[in-house]
């Protein structure tokens, strides 16, 4: 067991708009290996929720199975959470979201959990555009079963086992864009400056938001020949346009130069302001996002940042035209048509 958070409770910890301190967003002590990328992502989630002043109990945490999927126990201790079975978190999240449209759903999965056993569920939750933040803690291997290659391991990359992976890699961001996700981003667990705003933007998006985070497994896949190691990621990271995340409550100051920035207003009123650079492309177009990712892939680079945004899509509830009240709050009066109607229905079967 290792805990990497200070135990000392400072009396004057900064508070957010709700009066909560960052501590209120923490969970249990992590039991992952010291230095595991997943713990940094956990901290980024805590930071993002704290900064956005999200009510902790209005979040539902969901995960599959794996080291990564254990993480929801380590953040937002005041929220309910569920460890589903391996690869099936998307369906469980779908049901949960159908039951109550008013919570924020944060899903945590691994690359094995999502890109292999759960690939079927993953693409379908994307197609249905379920309103949730879906975080993949992507280490290119199966941590919990001791380091086998996963389907996101790049061809030629080797883990501690030393045999280069002979198979093609699945890029979850490209898959998500192709299957219609409205928000796709990639981060690196070692780059908190970028990751926290990425998560915040994902939380502000309505519909399915994928955040694929390169998250090195220090125990099994942090070798110099691994493309999911800390140093490889640092050396090969290529950021798209840098951006500011401006929460809905904050005033937008007009200090940007026309033509050099692109503003995308999210459902909750917050704004993503992208600063165009040589690397930037039109993130609102699927084809241009895919082209940018493919170009980087060819050069052996890892493209990070916001890769795609589309705020015009309907989410699952819109598509199914469900009532505004959460379904789990409906009572007999709303749901049961009563005996008189039943008698009338029976008449049709005479």
């Amino acid at each position: 067991m290792s805990s990497r958070r200070p135990v000392f409770r400072h009396p004057n910890l900064p508070k957010n708009d709700l009066g909560y301190t960052r501590r209120d967003y923490e969970g249990l002590d992590s039991t992952l290996c010291a230095g595991c990328g997943h713990d940094s992502i956990t901290n980024a989630i805590i930071q993002a929720c704290f900064e956005l002043s999200i009510e902790p109990h209005r979040v539902a945490k969901l995960s599959g199975i794996g080291c990564s999927s254990k993480s929801p126990a380590y953040f937002l201790g005041k929220s309910h959470g569920i460890n589903a079975v391996h690869g099936r978190m998307p369906s469980v999240a779908t049901g949960a979201n159908m039951a109550n449209k008013d919570l924020l759903y944060i899903g945590v999965s691994g690359d094995g959990d999502t890109a292999s056993i759960g690939m079927g569920q993953f693409v379908h939750i994307v197609r249905r555009n379920l309103n949730m933040v879906y975080i993949v803690m992507n280490n290119g291997c199966y941590g919990l079963t001791k380091g086998q290659d996963s389907a996101t391991a790049d061809k030629g990359s080797s883990s501690r086992k030393g045999r280069p992976n002979p198979f093609e890699a699945i890029d979850l961001c490209e898959t998500a864009v192709q299957t219609g996700a409205g928000f796709v981003a990639r981060g690196f667990s070692g780059d908190k400056e970028q990751l926290v705003p990425l998560l915040k933007a994902a939380m502000g998006h309505r519909g399915f938001a994928l955040v694929d985070v390169i998250s090195p497994c220090v125990t099994f896949n942090n070798t110099p020949a691994s493309t999911k190691s800390y140093h490889w990621a640092r050396d090969h990271m290529e950021a798209t346009a840098t951006f500011d995340f401006i929460p809905s409550r904050q005033e937008i100051t007009t200090d940007y130069v026309e033509g050099a920035t692109q503003n995308v207003t999210l459902h909750d009123g917050s704004v993503i302001r992208l600063h165009k650079t040589d690397n930037s492309f039109d993130v609102t177009q699927r084809w241009s996002s895919l082209e940018a990712m493919e170009q980087c892939r060819e050069k052996g680079q890892i493209l990070t940042g916001i890769l795609h945004v589309n705020e015009t899509l309907k989410d699952t509830h819109d598509i199914l035209e469900t009532t505004d009240k959460p379904l789990n709050t409906l009572t007999e009066k709303d749901l049961c048509p009563g005996n008189q109607v039943l008698t009338k229905i029976s008449e049709n079967y005479r």
């Binding site: 009510e55 902790p56 109990h57 209005r58 539902a60 945490k61 969901l62 929801p72 126990a73 201790g77 929220s79 309910h80 959470g81 569920i82 460890n83 589903a84 079975v85 099936r88 998307p90 369906s91 469980v92 999240a93 779908t94 049901g95 949960a96 979201n97 159908m98 039951a99 109550n100 008013d102 919570l103 079927g120 569920q121 379908h124 249905r128 509830h317 199914l320 035209e321 469900t322 009532t323 505004d324 009240k325 379904l327 789990n328 409906l330 009572t331 007999e332 709303d334 749901l335 049961c336 048509p337 009563g338 005996n339 109607v341 039943l342 008698t343 229905i345 029976s346 079967y349 005479r350």
Partner: protein, 613 residues
């Protein structure tokens, strides 16, 4: 030759090609019998195919009210060339062979003990019906018109049915009524005094309805308050969700036209069950419906639901075998697979409806039971029950009834809580703990749901003692479930009887009829119909008070028998399996014959224990 001469007591079979539109004509006939007030049980025997393969529709008419299959057929409408010979040979002696004589029979049709009824259906169609597209469909209606004459039916029943069916499109009724008349006219000109089977109006049905089990199940989910359904298409369960969808579109709309239900066609059954589980975890009443292969895919999540104590309802409309087994044929062959579905020490609550009314009641009840017990509940229907129409008493709903949402703490309850709360703390000593829904309270009641590695406070642990306590409490909960199961139906025919019969679900009608047949031969059996698992105490008592018990069911290995032996710790030799493995619904005659044969082989035990059950 002696022709079969009977009123309101015969079996008529229709041999058709699937995809030829015969179903609606055959339904029209069955419905007409029903509307004459005569007990009727139609059975559709169809292939796993969309067009071109043989399909049969069998209608049993029985004034006495036996609604199971009888076995054999007395009249056949043979309009499928592929099966003509087989249909011919299977006809009961003295029966009637009605066929399309546009093409004449070959020389090997030599039976002398049956009556041939030759009707040139194709010729009539070609001559009388201008629109070639309508001919195949109307051909079926023409034979129904002919039957009306042959069986001396009240013709207005048929024309009224057509008018009712097309009440919204009266234009379509007209060619159908004309086809009926064409059939009747031809028959009256050519077949006077040919058929000695007849259908007379009766008063045997009062207030009954004719409905398929899946529609009733869908209604049960509507009334039971289900709001979320995940599903994946599979025969014979698809129409459960279709019914739920249809009824929620009618009776579950809010003022602004939005739906008070979310129905998701998932990518597979893993996902369908995941959706139901996720919704149930989050406090909605949720279910899924499937059949055998789907149950196989759902078993991992059923295990999670069992161990993490999430109420979820699964409707299993059982069928025979794998996808390339006999997927459109009926069986009761998932009993063991469902009772013990999943990994580890799992056991599930099962309900066994036997008719549409019970489909409705048990489905509605399953949501209360799942919520009360915080565990999966599986409703064990089957293809025969689900997809065939059955005469049933109408469904009823007590408007004073309230949903039992079980032990759930809301915000106020959490605030006023004086004692210690733990998600898996059994403070009432019935094995059932208090749950909370996500989003309820800012400070209290949150926990992380996972399988069985947790202590009473839902904290992760792999401690042996904690695990043992958890597993034992789940056993205790199953004991609580036993008391909540619906009562068995017990029929005592001999007070000091030594022979008993146990059956369930769609075996009921045929079993009851067989028991009467045996009674007429001096073999008296008491019976018990199982309606739920875990077995109520009366099941054990019933079996213990008889020397020999026949367990009648529709699967090869006697799965219910195995379950009874295992769960009630019974001597296997006491339970004798009467198993029907045809893929067609079980019939009374074969039960009677099997039991008779067994009793002749085995002399009765010398010291009968006797005693009333």
């Amino acid at each position: 030759m002696k022709k079969l001469n009977r009123i309101n007591d015969f079996v008529i079979r229709f041999a058709n090609v699937n995809g030829s539109g015969s179903a609606s004509a055959n339904n029209l006939f069955a419905k007409a019998v029903f509307r004459l007030g005569v007990p009727v049980s139609p059975k559709n025997i169809f292939p796993s195919n969309i067009q071109g393969l043989p399909t049969w529709y069998e209608v049993r008419v029985c004034e006495k009210g036996y609604l199971g299959r009888r076995g054999g057929y007395d009249f056949i409408v043979a309009v499928n060339g592929q099966t003509l010979k087989k249909d011919y040979e299977g006809l009961e002696s003295g029966g009637y062979f009605f066929y399309d004589s546009t093409k004449s029979l070959t020389e090997d049709y030599t039976r002398k003990d049956i009556t041939l009824i030759r009707m040139p259906l194709t010729d009539i169609c070609n001559r009388e019906i201008d629109n070639p597209k309508l001919r195949p469909l109307l051909k079926n209606i023409i034979y129904v018109g002919a039957l009306a004459y042959l069986l001396d039916m009240d013709f207005s029943i048929l024309t009224d049915s057509i008018a009712k069916q097309f009440s919204k499109k009266p234009k379509l009724a007209e060619p159908n009524i004309r086809a009926l008349k064409l059939g009747r006219e031809y028959a009256s000109e050519h077949f006077a005094h040919t058929c000695e089977l007849s259908l007379k109006r009766s008063d045997k049905l009062a207030g009954h309805i004719l409905i398929d089990g899946n529609t009733a199940t869908g209604l049960g989910a509507l009334y039971g308050g289900a709001t979320v359904a995940g599903w994946y298409p599979i025969t014979p369960s698809t129409s459960v969700i279709e019914a739920f969808d249809k009824f929620t579109r009618q009776y579950r709309m809010d003022e602004s036209g939005k739906r008070k239900a979310a129905i998701i066609q998932a990518e597979d059954e893993l996902s369908a069950m995941g959706i139901a589980l996720g919704a149930a975890w989050n406090g909605a009443r949720a279910f899924t419906a499937t059949s055998g292969p789907g149950v196989s895919l759902m078993t991992e999540l059923l295990g999670l639901a069992y161990f993490s104590e999430i109420p979820v309802v699964l409707i299993n409309v059982q069928r025979a075998g794998p996808s390339t087994g006999m997927p459109t044929r009926t069986q009761q062959s998932d009993v063991l697979a469902c009772a013990y579905a999943s990994h580890g020490d799992t056991k599930h609550v099962l309900l066994f409806p036997c008719d549409p009314k019970e489909c409705f009641e048990m489905t509605a009840e399953s949501f209360d039971l799942a919520d009360r017990l915080q565990t999966p509940v599986i409703v064990m229907s089957d293809l025969d029950l689900g997809m065939n129409d059955h005469v049933s008493m109408p469904m009823e709903w007590d408007d004073a009834r309230r949903y039992d949402r079980g032990k759930v703490l809301d915000r106020a309850a959490l605030d006023s809580m004086v004692r210690d709360w733990g998600r898996y703390l059994d403070s009432d000593n019935d094995g059932i703990c208090y749950r909370t829904y996500p989003g309820t309270h800012p400070e209290k009641g949150a926990y992380f749901t996972r399988g069985s590695s947790h202590d009473e406070y839902a904290a992760y642990t792999e401690d042996t003692d904690a695990y043992k306590r958890c597993m034992e409490r789940l056993s205790q909960k199953f004991e609580t479930a036993r008391d909540l199961m619906p009562a068995s139906h017990i029929q005592i025919n001999a007070n000091a009887g030594t022979l008993g019969a146990v059956f369930y679900g769609t075996t009921t009608n045929a079993a009851n009829e067989a028991i009467e047949q045996l009674g007429e031969k001096g073999i008296v059996l008491n019976s018990l119909r199982v309606r739920g698992f875990p077995f109520k105490d009366e099941v054990r008592k019933f079996i213990n008070s008889h020397d020999q018990v026949f367990v009648i069911e529709q699967n090869r290995d006697g799965q219910m028998r195995t379950l009874l032996i295992t769960e009630l710790d019974l001597l296997p030799s006491k339970l004798i399996s009467i198993a029907h493995v045809a893929g067609t619904p079980i019939d009374a005659l074969s039960i009677t014959r099997s039991i008779e044969a067994l009793l002749i082989d085995k002399p009765k035990p010398e010291t009968p224990k006797g005693g009333a059950a």
